[in-house]
């Protein structure tokens, strides 16, 4: 992915840029709003990571509004220390695709940025998701693995759908809470792990290979067994 990072804090920016490059992405960096807007508007990126409070008179929201005003639909993730509910709502209203508050774990940022990529491709309406021998039909709401029908509860279905839509990508617990349950807070107990483990019981256990993998210190990933 070609990613633009607009962030004025040298340490945070250096850490993010290095991490993204290590994950195999091409990264451009701007340390003020003016350069950030110029780069975002003049070049093509797969995703933009945007800090809200920036020097140079143009803050993150202004950049975002300008881009959206120019019908630029590049996926944008706002990375901000402004953590109140209203701040988040403001960011999403201005047209951001995701909102992550500082401090953050790099794994969370990486997972969310990579998730944006899939969303940005804008493929037509999908009716069927397939990973290896696992099939999920969105119309008949049926799940089959190796031709064998699997019965899932509605919520399990949505969980599997979310994982399959992000197949090959890391999905964090917070992303699952937000994407599947529409919860925007962290429960103190790790309820998500239990839900995933139940899903595994149905989708992976009866079959020789597992598709849902735990990624240490990050979350989960649904992918075909590496050859």
């Amino acid at each position: 992915m070609r990613i633009l990072v607009v962030e004025d804090d040298k340490d945070v920016a250096g850490f993010v840029v290095r991490g993204l490059r290590e994950a195999g992405h091409v990264v451009e960096h701007a340390d003020n709003g003016r350069d950030g807007l110029f780069l975002a508007a003049s070049e093509t990126f797969d995703a933009v990571i945007l800090d809200r409070m920036l020097p140079g008179g143009i803050d993150g929201l202004k950049i975002l509004e300008t881009l959206r005003g120019q019908k630029n639909t590049v996926p944008v993730l706002i990375l901000s220390a402004m953590a109140e509910v209203d701040d988040r709502v403001k960011g999403l209203k201005a047209g951001s695709d995701d909102y992550l508050t500082k401090p953050f774990a790099f794994a969370e940022l990486l997972a969310r940025v990579e998730a944006l990529n899939r969303r940005g491709k804008g493929e037509g309406p999908v009716t069927k998701l397939v990973v290896e021998d696992l099939e999920l039909d969105l119309l008949s709401r049926q799940v089959k693995r190796a031709g064998q029908k699997i019965d899932l509860q509605p919520r399990e279905f949505r969980l599997l759908e979310y994982l399959m839509r992000h197949a090959g990508q890391v999905v964090t617990r917070t992303m699952l809470l937000e994407g599947v349950w529409d919860y925007h807070f962290d429960p103190q107990t790790n309820v998500i792990d239990v839900h995933v483990s139940r899903l595994r019981q149905k989708v992976d256990k009866p079959f020789p290979t597992g598709l849902i993998h735990t990624v240490r210190n990050a979350g989960y990933m649904l992918r075909a067994e590496q050859p």
Binding site: A83, T101, P103, R155, F185, Q188, N217
Partner: protein
Amino acid sequence: MIDRTLFRSAGFRFGAIYALLLAISATALALFLWWATAGLLDRQTEAAINADAQDLSERWAEGGLASLIVTIEGRLAQNIDDDAIYFLADRSMRRVAGNLERWPSHVTTPGTLYELQVMRAGMRSLANVQRFDLPGGFHLLIGRDVQAMAQLRRLLTDALLWAIVVVVLMATVGALVVRNLFRRTLANISATATAIAAGDFARRVKLTGRGDEFDQIAEVINDMLERIGRLMDGVRQVSNAIAHDLRTPITRARTRLEDAALHADTPEALRAAIERATTDLDGIVAVFQALLRISEIEAGSRRSSFTRIDIAPLLAQVEELYGPLAEERGISLVARTAAEVPAYGDKALIQQAVANLLDNAVKFSLPGGTVRLNASVAGRVEVAVSDQGPGIPASERVKATDRFYRGETARSTPGSGLGLSLVAAVAHLHGGELRLEDNAPGLRAVLVLPIPEEAEARPAALQPKHDFI
């Protein structure tokens, strides 16, 4: 300078206004009294004279001089009160008929009412008279004796003069009383404010118990002080938290890092130590976020986003989220909620509050226990979560919603001590409360919310006392 400060005093102004009002009403009363007594008699006399004149002129027209004389004499004879005065004079002002000795010299203009001294039957008296000129050079004087009326008027004037003296005295005394009352009431409030400014935050404005406007002001001020006190307590709790409760995990993280820097022999050990320290820091961040969220809720700004919602599906969702976790731990989660649970509020906040309660219940339950989620609507909305865990002793329930409070039984369980604080904050924001009860055994936590009709009607600023957080 003294005068100016006197006029600037509101107490003096109120006193002066009282005196002025009293003076104006007293004057108005006196004027009316005058008009209704002395004035009335004057007007009656004038009317009687006019009626006589009308009558006599008719007689003159009918029967001429002779008839007029007979009439006058007849009237005088019939006049029992002896107050009628008639005098008919010829061209040269000599007496023709009547009960005066001679024509009063200064009665010269016809149609004017004169008040003058007359001599009647050798007695000096006061009379109101009017002159009429008749054809043929005759002059007629018609009048009434007003000696008695004049005495009454004098009496009345004296009485009113004394009344003025009394009114002035009363106005002065009244003004002083009003001013002192005003001062005393304000002194109560201002003494409280001064004491608070000086640091005695427990002081409250004294109520007289009369329930009047001053009591209402005092109550509003006391409520305000209560609220400020709570907010200050909140701030104090947060600073205490930073000073004490966060010091522990920060110390732990710092020690780990320093220890690793000094003693880690292998890159693996170093990495492991850093990872553990990062986890500690994440925990600190989570606590901070929870604290900020509680403050955000307590500030009340989220109230603007309140809408009418049905929380039944919301409860079903939370139950669905925690169901598998409970099952995994051998706890049965039983939900019994009304088909429709209407409320007025913030969906996400209520959801989080209920999630916190369920989180606690599942966390503190032993395998084999039952956690119940009940929701009922009967005058108020009650969402109850009960467990069969260790519960909270009655003596500790009040403190249980304090930030960072952790019960003795909870020390060994992971948690920040902020879960119930958040639930209580959400309840208060919605004009409700969080009730902690004994489930014998276990804890029954009830989130009480007002029904939407009540919650919507209630202006945010005027909530009853117990709603102040």
